[in-house]
Symmetry: C2
Subunit: 452 residues, 2 copies
């Protein structure tokens, strides 16, 4: 065997090590996502509690708020600590596509820094409940974008699917939280006007759409658990109350107890969602860590095989395994491999070439799976972007933009993603004429191209 083969061997191992490093980084991102999921949940609670504190001029929830701020603070500390441990190490080999993840972290950290200031404003009643809610929503949107970016740059098919499912589920939960907040505002003002009805309806639409994507990417277990939540008594009761609210006309008086029931039912649903979210995060951690362990044991197998090869008689190994492999196409249209001497027998199973081949097969399998996941993801992103184009150019709201696309797709017998691609193409041409095509608002990125 020629001396140079050492290089081929080195690259075989370098490829595997590169996969391990990628999977380790991915496992880190998953850990980060788990932490973010908890932090978002704590902030959602603080948002709700701060609201009631503000609305009651500090008479209600004062100590509960103090307690919740402790929880939020602890969760934020865990988040910051993890960031330090994983991402700010000297000489760290970051995933180059980390740029987007790292920038969304910078954004979120900046928002978290301001949380202190926001709390002081709440303490001093210098902001309204609506303003405070609004600010919390921005902070949460920033944190959700961290999850979105982690999902968007993941390179493992199963982990990507789980991350996309989790991100969309977190979105749905956030929309549920916003629906609860608007409902509470309606009850506090003792009336539901037309605009409030519309908002509630739209937020329910947003939840449905996020949940659709969640279901598209989630595994069987998560789908079943979600179905159980949907089939629960709580959801049935919540839906009934939603219909009652939708039926309230402008100015109609509402019993005070209904407000309490609304808050309880909405909260019960959000808490159920949080438990499913936790289970998904736990599975994500398990799966991503198992990937690393699997890849490490494959590397160990490679070493063992190479060691074994070195102790065997080289002369018995095939001399032209690669270049005369009849299974690999060579000259196009070459009739048969009949003229080629049978260069490889049993010994091939333990050759370097065999290891390279099996690794090619492994990469091929993973890449194909990943391509399929990414395709679904890219289509989702296209639809979101096209919606944005329609909203800007036709001055439509989000739901109308979405429905317009759906209708075009039906009329033209095209996939929604293909209609979206056409809309973006036309939008780009228009954008090239304007000085600024309305692109690249920080909002879009902070929201990760998500609805609302």
């Amino acid at each position: 065997m020629p001396k140079h083969s050492e290089d081929a061997e080195k690259f075989l191992l370098a490829a595997k090590r590169s996969e391990i490093r990628a999977l380790e980084r991915l496992a880190e991102s998953c850990e980060l996502v788990t932490t973010v999921s908890d932090l978002v949940h704590q902030l959602q609670r603080e948002r709700g509690i701060s609201n009631i504190y503000l609305v009651s001029a500090g008479f209600r929830f004062s100590s509960l708020r103090a307690e919740q701020m402790q929880f939020s603070g602890k969760s934020a500390d865990t988040f910051r600590q993890l960031l330090h441990d994983h991402y700010l190490q000297e000489g760290r080999c970051s995933n180059p596509r980390d740029m987007r993840l790292l920038n969304s972290i910078a954004y979120s950290l900046h928002g978290l820094d301001e949380l202190e200031e926001l709390r002081r404003h709440v303490d001093a009643f210098e902001v309204s409940a609506l303003e405070s809610t609004d600010a919390f929503c921005r902070l949460i949107a920033g944190l959700l974008s961290v999850v979105f970016e982690a999902a968007d740059v993941a390179d493992d098919p199963e982990v990507t699917r789980l991350l996309v499912a989790l991100f969309n589920f977190m979105q749905a939960k956030e929309f549920s939280g916003q629906e609860r907040a608007w409902g509470a505002i309606g009850f506090a003002g003792s009336q539901f006007d037309e605009r409030l009805h519309q908002r509630l309806e739209q937020l329910q639409d947003c939840q449905r759409r996020s949940l659709e994507v969640f279901l598209e990417f989630a595994g069987d277990t998560e789908q079943a658990r979600w179905q159980a939540i949907e089939d629960s008594d709580e959801t049935r009761d919540l839906n009934r109350l939603r219909r009652v609210i939708a039926g309230l006309s402008n100015g109609e008086p509402i019993a005070a107890e209904v407000s309490e029931v609304w808050y309880q039912l909405a909260t019960a649903r959000i808490d159920s969602m949080h438990r499913l979210e936790d289970a998904m995060a736990a599975r994500l951690l398990r799966v991503s860590r198992k990937r690393v362990a699997d890849a490490q044991s494959e590397l160990g197998h490679h070493y063992a095989q190479l060691q074994k090869m070195k102790s065997t008689d080289w002369s018995r190994l095939p001399a032209l395994a690669v270049l005369f492999d009849p299974e690999v196409p060579g000259l196009y249209g070459r009739a048969s491999t009949a003229g080629v001497p049978p260069l490889h027998g049993q010994s091939l199973a333990h050759s370097l070439y065999d290891l390279i081949r099996s690794q090619v097969a492994h990469i091929h399998r993973v890449s194909e799976e990943l391509d399929e996941t990414r395709r679904a993801l890219t289509e989702r992103k296209l639809i979101e972007r096209a919606k944005g184009v329609l909203m800007r150019n036709l001055r439509l709201n989000e739901d109308d933009a979405y429905r317009t696309m759906q209708q075009r797709a039906m009329e033209m017998n095209l996939k929604l993603a293909d209609v979206a691609a056409k809309i973006i193409e036309i939008g780009n041409r228009r954008g090239a004429l304007d000085s600024d095509g309305g692109k690249s608002r920080p909002a879009d990125a902070a929201r990760g191209g998500s609805p609302a």
Copy 2:
């Protein structure tokens, strides 16, 4: 400004550094591709020369072959040296998606190791011209897959387009070389039978398809240069000769001079292609290096801005820039930002938030462009994979598989890629029933999912 902001600042800079690292790795891949392009060209020459050497039983091209082996060897050494310098450094931070690139390098290196052995077989006339050609084709296919992998994992939109264009152009050139070889075989045997005619036609089809993709991704300059080659006298003469050959019936005698003319015309075309290939490779290097330089100067700008901020009066900076930014959507459906105090004035333009925002915009722009490029690329890959499914399941040859798909797309008024996705879906379901769906042959990966 709260103390923690240092973290947000660190992540802003980490994000930019991560982009720089990614672009540096990409520039390295581009350098590698340039080297591979030269090595492939040398091996294509050696393949042709070795052929004539073998056919003439060593009477012709003996010294030319010795000379060409020197050139090939030099080019291979450059390739190996570059690999050592860039990819086998201790503690190197590789791009995690490098796995595929590194494995295709391992495959190519193994093939290059065997080249020595192949040459000894040629020296001793132990292989036929056809077998030697076949072996060279496999080696070249392995090297082309290095280019394919580099294109497939690139993260910059313009560089990706250039790499995809270059890869497909190299493919087309390789098919031209194989067409030349089959033509020469026909002339050597003094007859063109039906199968040979078919092969030539199919190789011309393969060239056309690769060139279509090249034109889809290439820039204006490359497109114009290719048009000039297509419009040249040489191409006109070659096309005329192609028609003459296609008109030859089985066993018809051919004047010896025609063989020489065929070789000259085909070679002239390949040489023109090589010059365009060189120009593309040079542009690729320029563009990828400029990307690194640009990102580095942006990092410098960030540092300067942060420095300037530190020397200004902090109290004049906005206190709640992120959480009260009216441009970022917060609570869904929140009516207006009228109630929010005007927190930011001119000073915002020099805040940390402003830097984060501008980086978000930058990332957003690059990602959208990359998504578009990747979508086109994914569609191409889907079409290739679907072709493979049809070839296996319906026992079709490549061209018939392609035409079947085209016809279905027309009939169903669908995009070719959507038909391909359906075929793969059905194929996967079938594959799940079989124990092995015929997936993951090393050949597919070595060829980078390319035609032939």
